[in-house]
């Protein structure tokens, strides 16, 4: 007896869902372009370089931030046609939860490793995520056309560190179009078709979402069981919200409407969802009237790792900033913010970020896309403070740290940092990690010349410019990944920065006692460089409680005058003065001192460590 679901099952066996896992610059985008080109999913004339990365910012930074999924048709050598879904993943440690959800939407992953660079820490972390999701892994060694390529050595590395069978490793050059067909054939043969039953209750995994001005939030989903159709009333299992599906479709990569998505399918849906808070990556969509018994595994609420205060430069822009944050939140569900006030900076917001890159991207977007002129304070982690009265409070803003007398202990978040680098830099890396209060845990060779080193470190040490330091002490060869380890007590103190005798709350820092003097001195020096000289001398001090531990002075401005201004100079000099005025406008007056935006981030990059 043929059942009505048989047609879906036949189709399901031709589906292959996969991601590409690669380190930044190892060629993921180029390979994706090449695959699209060969399957002629995109006509050549429409090919825009690196098609999958849709935001400008992504293209500039060469990092995929927002996920995308593309459906393409591949006619294999066996004569059969297959339906591929290429699911893109972000390539940065800040977004590892999103990566894990994207991988959960796949049955396989193409692991791209640069033939000259070898495996990086980030790649390794993502491969482990792929293992967690039981994915079939197809190793591809890319850029074999480069003179520096060492494909056999890299193959050995994959074998040794990852421990997967590398007999089917494909040597490729996405740039030159070498090996692409092999990759496509291997996807057909090595990646299993999706399991799941179209006759069961709907379980669709949300692995990404974005905001469309006209249709609201558009979740991207992988249907695990059941079928979803236009007109269905759907329910988000974690948030409980119910919506009616108005449109369903796939990307080819153009948006294309479809009547349904069945078990094994990957696509998007529109359901007039106004509030992004109702759509959580990792949540399961089911049918409201016939819900699945359990949601899909693996869902968790995102928690920010770092916090920063964000304030409008001009206090009158507070409402504008608030509206911009609301809009930004629509396309960045992981953004978490609460209003806060600062004596120095006025009304603003404390914003939680998944990591430093997330924070940088936020700052660029808020300035570029929303034209907001903002001041961001140096990032802070979240501290657990046990008070002498037995109460435990959380502090994500150093300025709010209670007085020393009320504190019993302070705990800070720790992470396990994994670094992979050529062995000649081991000394430098260890020195750096030790300076950052790192506790050495392990070191192993991943190949004859490369090592993996792991340290347990306070997260606050990682956010203070650690990655840049690591890069510069290893000539750019080291890669870094970290995962949270929970909270640990530390000898931490709050350091106030005083300008002209007045503490500036937005500059307060929490430092380890043993480093407080050295870092405070550097911060004072840095502020001296960043704060332009003003009409009066400005003492810059760092203090723990009432005890000053570092100080310097910003000398008074003595000369600022245009030597000549004759008939031919007037317009030009006016322009110069206007420019000077614009510079002043971008500064924040705190008391009588004008402070440039950069000063608030000064603690982040302290030279000559």
């Amino acid at each position: 007896m043929s059942d009505i679901f048989e047609q879906y099952r036949v189709r399901q066996r031709k589906i292959r869902n996969f991601s590409i896992i690669a380190h930044i610059d190892h060629g993921k985008s180029t390979l994706a372009d090449r695959i699209l080109e060969i399957t002629q999913t995109v006509p050549m004339r429409d090919m825009k370089k690196q098609l999958l990365d849709s935001m400008d910012l992504e293209r500039e930074r060469g990092i995929t931030i927002k996920l995308n999924s593309v459906e393409l048709t591949y006619k294999a050598k066996n004569g059969e046609e297959y339906l591929f879904h290429l699911i893109d993943t972000p390539g940065h440690v800040d977004f590892s939860y999103e990566v894990s959800r994207s991988l959960a939407a796949c049955e396989g992953a193409v692991l791209v490793v640069d033939a000259s660079q070898g495996i990086e820490a980030q790649t390794l972390a993502n491969v482990y995520l792929a293992f967690d999701n039981d994915l079939a892994i197809i190793p591809v060694i890319n850029k074999i056309d480069l003179p520096s390529a060492m494909p056999d050595m890299v193959k050995q590395e994959i074998n040794d560190i990852i421990g997967i069978d590398t007999t089917h490793t494909i040597f490729a050059s996405a740039k030159e179009g070498i090996g692409i067909e092999d990759i496509l054939e291997t996807i057909v043969t090595e990646i299993p078709f999706p399991e799941g039953d179209p006759s069961l209750s709907l379980q669709a995994l949300i692995f990404d979402s974005y905001y469309d001005t006209y249709r609201g939030v558009i979740p991207l989903v992988r249907v695990k069981n059941g079928i979803i159709r236009v007109g269905d009333a759907i329910k988000m299992m974690a948030t409980g919200a119910v919506f009616e599906v108005t449109e369903i479709g796939v990307y080819t990569p153009k948006e294309e409407a479809r009547p349904y998505l069945a078990a094994g399918d990957v696509g998007w849906l529109a359901a007039t969802i106004k509030n992004i808070e109702k759509v959580h990556v990792g949540d399961t969509i089911t049918i409201a009237s016939n819900p699945a018994k359990t949601p899909l595994p693996g869902y968790r609420k995102l928690t920010p790792m770092v916090y920063s205060g964000v304030y409008p430069v001009d206090a009158d822009d507070y409402i504008n900033l608030k509206e911009s944050l609301e809009k930004l939140k629509l396309s960045d569900a992981s953004l978490i913010y609460d209003p806060e006030t600062s004596e120095a900076l006025g009304f603003g917001f404390r914003i939680g970020f998944l990591g430093m890159l997330h924070m940088e991207i936020f700052q660029e977007r808020i300035e570029r896309e929303f034209n907001q002129n903002v001041i961001a304070t140096a990032p802070s982690v979240n501290y657990l403070v046990l008070l002498t009265n037995g109460q435990i409070i959380e502090i994500d803003n150093p300025a709010l740290m209670p007085p020393v007398g009320q504190i019993k202990t302070i705990e800070e978040p720790f992470v396990k940092a994994t670094i992979i680098a050529p062995n000649e830099y081991v000394g430098n890396i260890m020195e750096l990690c030790q300076k950052r209060r790192g506790v050495f845990k392990n070191m192993q060779y991943v190949s004859d010349i490369r090592v993996e080193i792991s340290y347990e470190m306070p997260l606050s040490e990682i956010i203070f410019d650690f990655f840049n330091r690591l890069k510069s002490s290893t000539k750019g060869y080291a890669s870094l990944d970290y995962e949270p380890l929970g909270y640990r007590p530390g000898k931490l103190v709050k350091v106030d920065i005083l300008l002209n005798g007045e503490p500036v709350d937005a500059l307060a820092m929490i430092l380890h006692q043993d480093f407080a003097f050295e870092r405070s001195t550097k911060v004072c020096q840095k502020l001296k460089l960043l704060i332009p000289r003003q009409l009066f001398e400005i003492p810059v001090q760092a203090a723990i409680g009432s005890k000053v531990i570092a100080r310097t002075n910003i000398k008074a401005l003595r000369k600022d005058v245009l030597a000549k201004c004759y008939g031919g100079d007037v317009s030009r000099k006016k322009k110069l003065l206007e420019k000077q005025k614009q510079g002043k406008k971008r500064m924040k007056s705190v008391g009588s001192v004008e402070i440039p935006q950069a000063a608030f981030m000064s603690v982040l990059s302290l030279d000559n460590e």
């Binding site: 009409l535 401005l557 003595r558 000369k559 600022d560 005058v561 245009l562 030597a563 000549k564 201004c565 004759y566 008939g567 031919g568 007037v570 317009s571 000099k573 006016k574 003065l577 206007e578 000077q580 005025k581 002043k584």
Partner: protein
């Protein structure tokens, strides 16, 4: 009413490293073509030039033109314009271009003021600036000008030159005073963008002087010149009583002036106009319409009245501001009041002026106008 005429001669023997004016090293034949076009531009503007009190030849280097071309220009001016009201007729000159006959020709055509681009007497600093004259040229040039009958001489000085010491500056001041000029302009070296010097600075070929040292230099200049009987009437300008530059005072008093020649600026009928800045476009414009005008720039009389007027040590008359613009000055520019408190400005009767400290920090006051 236009009372000042500026004539720009864009040619130089060699480009000074700090100069950001419109200038070029001429190819053969260019100067005479240029002079013919200048005269045509002058002729087109005759109706505007009936009340001239000042004429100023600037550059570039006006004395790069050979004597016959200069004579043609001077004659065109004296034959075509009514000069009965003319009080000051200045030409800028390179010290090594001055000869007795040139001086005599100046006097013959009514020129009564010569401005010499001296800059410094230190040979190593002249080299740094890219100047071609030698210290000896200066005394000789002044002697010959005096002998020819030029009674009003200005010396341009530059201080704050990388490598300059207080001792170097003292020597410069002694030399200048020994020349007994009627007027001295002393400019703190500015690194203007698009100059050779700026480029060299970007490439870290030298370091700027510490501004404490520059301040010491500007104080030394002021005290030395004051003692010698000069008075400081503008941020960078000193004169013996009665010898202040009338032409430049027109600019600082926001009076009208007309500029002719490549890249020259005019301010009249509530407009700021700029001439074409390249040789070919200027020549083409004159050929076509007889005027060198290329574009207009914003005229903001309230801002300019204050920004230019405060450059003078006498400052600005606050009542006159209110008469001209129908609003009290402190209402229009409230932040000026703040600088009465900071001590950069002071008010003496109706005059609002920069204090001694304010003269060194004038930009801090001027930016508040924008």
């Amino acid at each position: 009413m236009i009372e000042g005429l500026y004539i720009h001669i864009p040619f130089c023997h060699q480009i000074c490293r700090y100069c950001d004016f419109v200038k070029m090293v001429p190819q053969k034949g260019m100067p005479s073509i240029y002079v013919e076009h200048l005269i045509r531009e002058l002729e087109s503007n005759i109706p505007l030039l009936t009340n001239l009190k000042t004429i100023y030849f600037g550059g570039g280097t006006p004395t790069l033109l050979d004597q016959s071309l200069l004579a043609r220009l001077f004659e065109a001016i004296s034959h075509r314009l009514n000069l009965s009201l003319l009080e000051e007729y200045t030409i800028e000159a390179n010290p090594n271009d001055i000869t007795k006959t040139l001086g005599a020709m100046f006097v013959q055509h009514g020129i009564n003021r010569v401005s010499l681009g001296v800059q410094t007497f230190s040979p190593h600093l002249l080299t740094f600036l890219g100047r071609t004259h030698r210290p000896d040229d200066i005394g000789r040039a002044i002697q010959e000008l005096r002998a020819s009958g030029i009674k009003n001489i200005n010396i341009d000085l530059i201080y704050g030159i990388p490598g300059q010491s207080i001792q170097d500056l003292k020597m410069d001041l002694n030399q200048v005073l020994g020349c007994h000029p009627q007027h001295i302009s002393a400019y703190n070296l500015i690194l203007e963008e698009k100059t050779i010097l700026y480029h060299a600075y970007q490439n870290q070929q030298f370091e700027l002087l510490d501004d404490e040292l520059e301040l010491e230099m500007s104080d030394l200049i002021e005290s030395t010149l004051l003692e010698a009987g000069y008075h400081r009437y503008e941020i960078s300008n000193y004169a013996l009583p009665g010898y202040e530059s009338k032409h430049n005072l027109l600019v600082w008093n926001l009076e009208e002036y007309l500029g002719i020649g490549m890249g020259s600026h005019s301010q009249y009928q509530r407009k700021r106009l700029v001439n074409h800045t390249t040789f070919s476009s200027y020549i083409a414009a004159i050929d076509e319409i007889g005027l060198g005008f290329a574009h207009e720039e914003p005229y903001e009389p309230e801002i300019e009245f204050v920004m230019l007027g405060l450059r003078k040590t006498a400052g600005i008359d606050v009542d006159r501001f209110e008469t001209l613009f129908g609003q009290p000055i402190f209402q229009r520019f409230p932040e000026l009041k703040h600088h009465l408190a900071t001590g950069l400005l002071e008010k003496k009767g109706r005059q609002l002026q920069l204090t001694k400290q304010g003269l060194d920090l004038a930009n801090q006051v001027f930016v508040t106008l924008f």
